[in-house]
């Protein structure tokens, strides 16, 4: 779950990190009013779940209210890497002496937390990693130990931050680690972390990805969940509790299990088609779940054929077959459906489907043949 910059700053502030005062706004007038309350100069910043906002013209300095009005007018509606700006963060401008980079994420290979710190802030870390890898100081943290002050100091020293920035950075980085672990983030990033001419260290940007699995112990996640960018299809699937990812093809895909669903999307591609989505209905393919899945797929105007790929493990074939027939009775489906049913009690399941087969409901014996048929019907 990705947070907007302003949500990330709120998240960081909750762990005692220094961020700038600001307001999230949704119109030009609100932006001007917010700037008036905050006092100019301010920064006018597009809030989208994408990097490269500055380059796209989504981050502007405004010396006075007229400039706020002009920049907000330009930024609202701006398309940044496919994300249209609908909200802006207006915050008090800061004087910058130096810009750094800091982040924590899980190093899956090392199975430890990885902290990265660099004097080369303000630009994308991938660029630094490529052009000047020595400029990134890394620290691996064992979750059982946590980030000790000693380890944090050694890390800051390795990054060669100037003496003026050391104390402030050590304090912020320890809080950043706490926010990352206790806040259940997959990733936290500050770019830039700045040193002001007055010698204080300050958080100027925030990129936070939270772990959806941890929602049960973070009631505050609910507000962030509401602002996730989802297209209409994804929102509808999300409301039904389905694992759905929208894609841009014409074959609607329903499968049980994440691996099989991914594999189904791949196979559709291999036989010359394109999937409209990834949809995992999980282990229990009952009528309710199947009806919900078919409804989501059916509402996607791009879908021209539907491929239901079920491998019964514990899920039994006859239950799946009954579920599909019951779901089809509940939801009027526009596109033809191709089913591949295999695994436990597949024979019984196929026997149930057999009398219901038509040019709207077809069955194929294997995954590949079913994919070919679905692609043919979609083109």
């Amino acid at each position: 779950m990705d947070l907007f910059e302003h949500q990330g700053k709120e998240f960081f502030a909750g762990y005692g990190m220094p961020v700038s005062d600001g307001e999230a706004v949704f119109s030009v007038d609100e932006a001007v009013a917010a700037a008036e309350r905050l006092g100019t100069p301010v920064m006018v910043k597009a809030q989208v779940h994408a990097g490269g906002r500055g380059k796209a013209g989504g981050v502007k300095f405004a010396a006075d209210l007229d400039a706020v009005r002009e920049h907000a007018g330009n930024i609202f509606g701006l398309d940044i890497k496919g994300h249209v700006v609908e909200r802006i963060w207006v915050e008090k401008a800061s004087d910058i002496a130096e810009e750094y980079y800091a982040s924590f994420t899980l190093d899956r290979a090392a199975k430890k937390h990885l902290g990265m710190l660099s004097k080369e802030g303000g630009i994308e870390i991938e660029t630094v990693a490529e052009e000047n890898p020595d400029a990134i100081a890394k620290v691996w943290v064992d979750p059982v130990d946590g980030l000790t002050e000693e380890a944090c100091r050694a890390w800051v020293a390795a990054a060669n931050l100037p003496a003026a920035a050391v104390e402030g950075s050590v304090e912020i980085l320890q809080k950043l680690y706490t926010a990352y672990t206790e806040g259940d983030a997959d990733m936290v990033e500050i770019n830039p972390l700045i040193l002001t001419p007055e010698g204080t260290v300050h958080v100027l940007d925030a990129k936070v990805t939270l772990d959806g699995n941890s929602e049960f112990r973070h009631p505050e996640y609910a507000q962030y969940d509401k602002t996730q960018p989802r297209d209409e299809r994804e929102q509808s699937a999300h409301d039904k509790g389905l694992q759905y990812v929208g894609l841009d093809g014409s074959v609607g895909v329903i499968a049980n299990g994440a691996g099989l669903a991914m594999s189904t999307v791949d196979v559709v591609n291999q036989v010359g088609g394109k999937s409209a989505n990834f949809l995992d209905i999980g282990g229990g393919a009952n009528a309710d779940v199947m009806a919900g899945a078919l409804e989501v797929i059916n509402n996607d105007p791009a879908v021209k054929a539907i491929f239901i790929n079920i491998f019964g493990g514990i899920t039994r074939g006859e239950e799946v077959a009954n579920g599909i027939i019951e779901a089809m009775a509940r939801v009027e489906i526009d596109s033809p459906i191709v089913i591949r049913l295999d695994g436990t009690n597949a024979d019984q399941g196929r026997a149930i489907l057999e009398p219901n087969l038509s040019d709207k409901l077809m069955m194929e014996p294997t995954m590949l043949e079913a994919a070919r048929r679905a692609v043919e019907l979609a083109s």
């Binding site: 199975k111 059982v144 699995n213 991914m262 282990g283 491998f311």
Partner: protein, 294 residues
């Protein structure tokens, strides 16, 4: 032979009194697994289908001599359950539960590695382990697997594991052990742990490995296969067409920053001499070819 478990493995079910635990506990027992105990902090003395419930894993181990534990408790309780199992004295822990926070997984993985280095954790978010005809711990449907050998299976995905077992059974190929390591970012047991065990197991003559996008576990496995394996490996990687930045169902299945793509994984495996199929069926056929030539 089988890896990690065998017909003598006695298993405790943490969460046996719950709906999932009791359902799969019963199926596992029917398969022939030695389901010797369940645990529940407040239900000691009760039983589920005649299987006694103890207050905790230590008590259950003391009373039954169990060496393995299977966890079905809800996600918020998994961290505590894993550590309770290790402290209680089991050697092999299978955590089936999905939706466990990544921070918890990173914590108990390292806690186990440091304080209980002899304990092997499988999962979380995995289908479990089956040694066909001997022992089935978890949610795999036992009858889709043919007992015997010569193939060992290791997989990051549940349904694709079933698919692999089923395709081999259709071709009348037996399986020594099938390990579902799960699709989470910090799996307790890695591909390499399984490959190493299969390499050492005299009855396993070939290995089928099923991976998916995200992370670098397949690349690391490829390196291990190249340097340390004499037995042939066939493989399949799911997620060739997955768009970057989108989690494909599993918490670990995401292509980020251009890393973890299926193409890179397939390339690494092929370079290590692995036969890589473009879909599960093709991988099954490649394995059939390997078995025929053994």
């Amino acid at each position: 032979m089988s890896i990690f478990v065998n017909e003598n493995t006695k298993v405790i079910y943490q969460g046996l009194t719950g709906s999932q635990g009791s359902y799969y506990g019963r199926l596992n027992a029917e398969y022939g697994t030695q389901v010797v105990a369940g645990t529940h902090p407040k239900k000691a003395g009760a039983d589920v289908d005649g299987v006694p419930i103890y207050a905790n894993v230590a008590d259950a181990v003391g009373a039954t001599g169990a060496t393995a534990s299977c966890i079905f408790v809800p996600a918020p309780g998994v961290k505590g359950a894993v550590m309770e199992a290790a402290e209680g004295g089991v050697e092999f822990i299978v955590a089936i539960t999905e939706g466990v926070p990544a921070q918890d997984e990173a914590y108990f993985f390292n806690d186990l590695a440091r304080n209980y280095p002899d304990v092997q954790l499988l999962g979380p978010n995995c289908p479990g382990i089956i040694s066909p005809g001997k022992c089935n711990i978890g949610i795999t449907a036992g009858h889709i697997a043919k007992a015997g050998g010569p193939v060992g299976i290791v997989s990051r995905s549940g349904t694709l594991t079933y698919q692999a077992l089923y395709e081999l059974k259709q071709k009348d190929i037996g399986v020594t052990t099938c390990v579902g390591i799960g699709g989470d970012p910090v799996p307790g047991t890695s591909f390499i742990d399984c490959l190493e065990a299969f390499e050492a197991d005299p009855e396993t003559l070939a290995v089928m490995m099923i991976g998916e996008i995200g992370g670098s576990a397949e690349e690391e496995a490829a390196e291990f296969i190249r340097d340390h394996m004499s037995k042939p490996v066939a493989s399949y990687i799911a997620g060739v067409t997955a768009p970057p930045g989108k989690k494909m169902g599993h918490a670990g299945a995401i292509v980020s920053g251009g890393k973890g793509t299926a193409a890179a994984k397939m390339e690494a495996l092929e370079a290590a001499g692995v036969l890589v199929g473009n879909n599960p069926t093709e991988a099954g056929e490649l394995m059939a070819g390997i078995v025929a030539s053994l």
